[in-house]
Symmetry: C2
Subunit: 207 residues, 2 copies
């Protein structure tokens, strides 16, 4: 990534990482306080992440069309396209946390006894993003091992949260499972719609 276009894209990628890191931090604050106003702000600000993604996408497509990149340059551009998808989704997930905060109104959605775990999950999530930011800045380091550690920590915290929920009410397992299954089908449908959107892109339909 040496030419000015690539420098711009690289800066925008780092910008997206900073935004999604901040978004999860603010969403968590909004969830635990609870702070509906802050939650609304996180939801509104997610549009900035989406717009950045759009901008990077267009720059990369233009570069693919005009520069005929090969080898490392081509890999760079394709990797950038893929990263944008993930980062946009991370922004969406922070927005979902903020939306959950709003569901409780002025009452906290997360019971006091579980706030500590949720706070830790948010801290691990943000630490992970800061590590990713380091690896995007200086590729080729030993990032993966560090990331794996955080990712394991996250899985462990998720299990701890579920166990705490189960302890509070033994009927919870089924409720959680059925609720998650509901989300799986919904997400599956969303992805199917996303595929169809690409068909329109493919056919050159303006959206």
């Amino acid at each position: 990534m040496r030419d000015p276009m690539c420098d711009t894209v690289h800066q925008e990628l780092i910008g997206m990482l900073q935004l999604v890191e901040a978004a999860m931090g603010r969403a968590t604050t909004a969830l635990l306080a609870p702070d509906p106003e802050l939650a609304e702000q996180v939801i509104t600000d997610d549009a900035v992440v989406d717009a950045l993604r759009q901008e990077i996408d267009e720059r990369v497509l233009a570069a693919l069309a005009t520069q005929h990149p090969v080898a490392a340059d081509l890999r760079n551009l394709v990797a950038t396209l893929r990263m944008c998808v993930e980062l946009e989704r991370m922004g969406d997930l922070a927005r979902h946390v903020a939306e959950t905060a709003l569901r409780g109104g002025d009452l906290p959605v997360v019971p006091p006894g579980l706030q500590g775990i949720v706070r830790q999950m948010s801290a691990v999530a943000q630490h992970l993003v800061s590590e990713v930011r380091d690896c995007v800045g200086y590729p080729g380091g030993h990032s993966e091992r560090l990331l794996d550690h955080d990712d394991d920590e996250m899985d462990h915290l998720r299990l701890e949260l579920d166990t705490a929920l189960l302890r509070a009410n033994p009927g919870t397992r089924s409720i959680m499972d059925v609720s998650l299954v509901g989300r799986y089908y919904e997400r599956y449908a969303d992805h199917a719609v996303a595929v169809a959107r690409q068909v329109d892109f493919l056919a050159g339909v303006t959206r």
Copy 2:
């Protein structure tokens, strides 16, 4: 998509769609029966979807590197890369449903009163994919409106499922919310790791 490479990629995309459609159908059967053996099979078979994604990815990258496509051809290839990501994720979600089926052992995870809604969600999901398959086969149709209808139906069913869960136990709202929040953080972390993987791809590290 006229040259032989593109025909192959197109056939493989249709193949992925057929596989993820079947996977969700089988996962639902495994969940509702319950049928742990079928669930295991769905989980194992997800590797085929992942392998197809890898194959399409490599073909598209090779085409980008050697054919220097522009305009419609470039859009085709980029759209294909994006579709693969969504389809792989759909396969993952079908696998998650199968994994949930296994959690109950020989007892059904979904209570009898909620099986009807889950069955409908699965039917809508599969119908959606069959419509997407039609649009990938014949781009430029009025697919989006049909898809929107199914997507709305899915959101409606999800709401119905949550309402039914709430009716059964008024304390459920908080359990569902906290459990979903847990999932949001976990997914956020997964996406962060996926970004880091692209950094390795970018640096040319073999995985």
